[in-house]
Amino acid sequence: MELILETLGLTETAALLSLSPPGWGANLLRGLANSLQIALGAFGMGLVIGLFGAYGKLYGGPILRDLLAIYTTVIRAVPELVLILILYYVGTDLINKLAQFMGYGRVEISGVVAGIWVLGIVQGAYATEILRGAIQAVPPGQIEAARAYGMPALLTLRRVTVPALMAFATPGLANLWLIATKDTALLAVVGFNELTLETKQAASSTRSYFTFFLAAGGLYLMVTLCSGVVFARIEKWARRGQPSLRQGGL
C-alpha cells in the first residue's frame, strides 16, 4: 500500500487526508455526515410540505390555491442563497420572540435544525410541483373506485394514491434529493460546518487547495452516484406491475 502511494507520489496527499489528527480526513467525514443529516431532514420536510401542498393545490379552495401558487413561484424564482439568509433570520427572530413571550431568554438554534428548516421550505416548493404532477398522472378511476367503496380519505391516500403516484414521482424526487445534497453546500456561506466549509477550512490551513477540494468533490460524487443506484431501485420497485415500453408490448 505504502509502496503504491510512494510510486504515485501521493504520500503527502494520503497524510493530509488520513483520519488521525494530523490528517484532515475525519473533519471531512464529519462534514459529510452533517451534510447528509441536513439533506435527509430537509428532503423529508420537503416531502411532507409537498404532499400537503399538492393536495391543497389540487383540492383546496381558491384562496389556498392562490397562496400555494405564490409560495411555489416565489421560492422557485429567488436564489436559494438569498432564501437561506431570509428564512434563517426570520426563523431565529420568530423563535426568539416566542421564547421571550413565554418567558425564556435568547435561544441558540443549532446549525442542523436551522439548515433543515431553511432547506426544507425550499424543497417543499419543488416537491409540491412534482407531487402535484404525479397525483394528476394517477388514473382518476383508481381514486374514484376507492371513494366509491367508501374508503376514508387518509386510507385512500395511503393505500391508493401514494403507491400509484410513486412511479411518476420517483424521477423528480430523485432529482430533488440530489439538489438537496448539493444545496447543503450553500449553508457554508452562513457558517454551518458541513462538508464544503470543513473542506475550505482544511484547505486554507494546509494551503493544499486542490487535494481537499478534489477529495470533497469525490465524496459528493460518491453520494450522487450511490443515490442514483438507490433511486433506480426504488423506481423499479414502484413500477412493478406496470408494462414495460421497452419490450415492444404495444
Binding site: 381558491p62 384562496i63 424564482a77 429567488v78 436564489p79 438569498v82 468533490g217 459528493y220 452516484l225
Partner: protein, 259 residues
C-alpha cells in the same frame, strides 16, 4: 382579456389588497434611508450580475452543443469524456467548483514565473475570470445533458431528407438539426437559465461584487437585515420574470406545434 377577468375574482382582490398593504407597510415603517447612499453601488452590482449571467449562459451553451453532440452520436472516445464531464459537474455542488477554481488555480498560478510575467496576469489576479469560468462550465455541464436529449430527439426523417437532397453535413447540422433540437428544448433552456441566474450570487463568495454582495455589504455596514434582502429577492424575481418572458417570445418565434 381572460387574464384581467381572472384577476377580478373577489378573493384575488382581497389578496392583492393585502399584498398592497404589505408593500405600503414595508415602504413606510421599514428603514430605507440607506438606499440613496448605496444606489450607485447597487446599480453597478446589478450590471455585474447581468453581464455574468449573459456571458456565462452564451459561452456555456456554445460549449454544451459539442458536449451534447458528442454524447448523442460521438464515438466512444468523445462520448465517454463528455459523459464524465457532465456527471462530475452535475454531481458536485457549484460552490465547491467555484472555490476549487478560485482558491486552487489562484494558488497554483503564482508559482509559475512565466504566468506572472504574461499579459494575462493582471486579469488572473482578479476574481471574475474564475467566476465566469466556473459558471460557464457548470451551465455547459447541465446543458450538455439537455442537448444530448435534444439532438437525439430530432426526427430521423428530417435528417434523412436533408441528406437525400445532398446537403453537406455541416449545412445539415446548421439548418436542420440544431434549430429543431433547440426549439424542442427551449422551455427547458428557459428554466435552466433561471437556475443559472439563481447560481450567480455564489460568486459573491469569491469577492466578485454583484448585487448579492452589495446587499451583504449593506447588511454588514448598517446592521439592517430584512430590507436589503427583501429588495434583493424582488430584484431576482423581476429578472427571473424577464427571462421567462424572453423565452416565451423565443418559443413563439418558431412555428408552433399543434398537439
Amino acid at each position: 382579456m381572460t387574464g384581467l377577468k381572472s384577476l377580478m375574482q373577489p378573493h384575488r382582490l382581497v389578496l392583492m389588497a393585502l399584498f398592497g398593504a404589505f408593500v405600503l407597510w414595508c415602504a413606510l415603517s421599514m428603514r430605507w434611508d440607506w438606499l440613496p447612499k448605496y444606489a450607485p453601488l447597487a446599480l453597478q452590482g446589478l450590471w455585474t450580475t447581468l453581464w455574468i449571467l449573459v456571458v456565462t449562459t452564451v459561452l456555456g451553451f456554445l460549449l454544451a452543443v459539442p458536449l451534447g453532440l458528442a454524447q448523442a452520436i460521438g464515438p466512444w472516445y468523445l462520448s465517454a469524456p463528455a459523459r464524465i464531464f457532465c456527471t462530475v459537474i452535475r454531481g458536485t455542488p457549484l460552490l465547491l467548483q467555484i472555490w476549487l477554481l478560485y482558491y486552487g488555480l489562484g494558488s497554483l498560478f503564482p508559482q509559475f514565473p512565466w504566468i506572472r510575467s504574461s499579459e494575462l496576469w493582471p486579469y488572473l489576479r482578479q476574481a471574475w475570470p474564475y467566476a465566469v469560468l466556473a459558471l460557464t462550465l457548470s451551465y455547459a455541464g447541465y446543458e450538455g445533458e439537455v442537448m444530448r436529449g435534444a439532438f437525439s430527439g430530432v426526427a430521423k426523417g428530417q435528417l434523412e431528407s436533408a441528406r437525400s437532397f445532398g446537403m453537406p453535413r455541416f449545412t445539415m447540422f446548421r439548418r436542420i438539426w440544431l434549430p429543431q433540437a433547440i426549439r424542442n428544448v427551449l422551455p427547458t433552456l428557459g428554466g435552466e437559465t433561471i437556475l443559472q441566474l439563481k447560481a450567480t450570487p455564489l460568486v459573491a463568495t469569491i469577492t466578485v461584487v454583484e448585487i448579492y454582495a452589495v446587499s451583504s455589504r449593506v447588511r454588514a455596514d448598517t446592521f439592517i437585515v430584512y430590507e436589503p434582502l427583501l429588495l434583493l429577492a424582488l430584484v431576482y424575481m423581476v429578472i427571473a420574470a424577464l427571462i421567462g418572458l424572453a423565452f416565451k417570445r423565443f418559443e413563439n418565434m418558431g412555428p408552433t406545434t399543434r398537439r
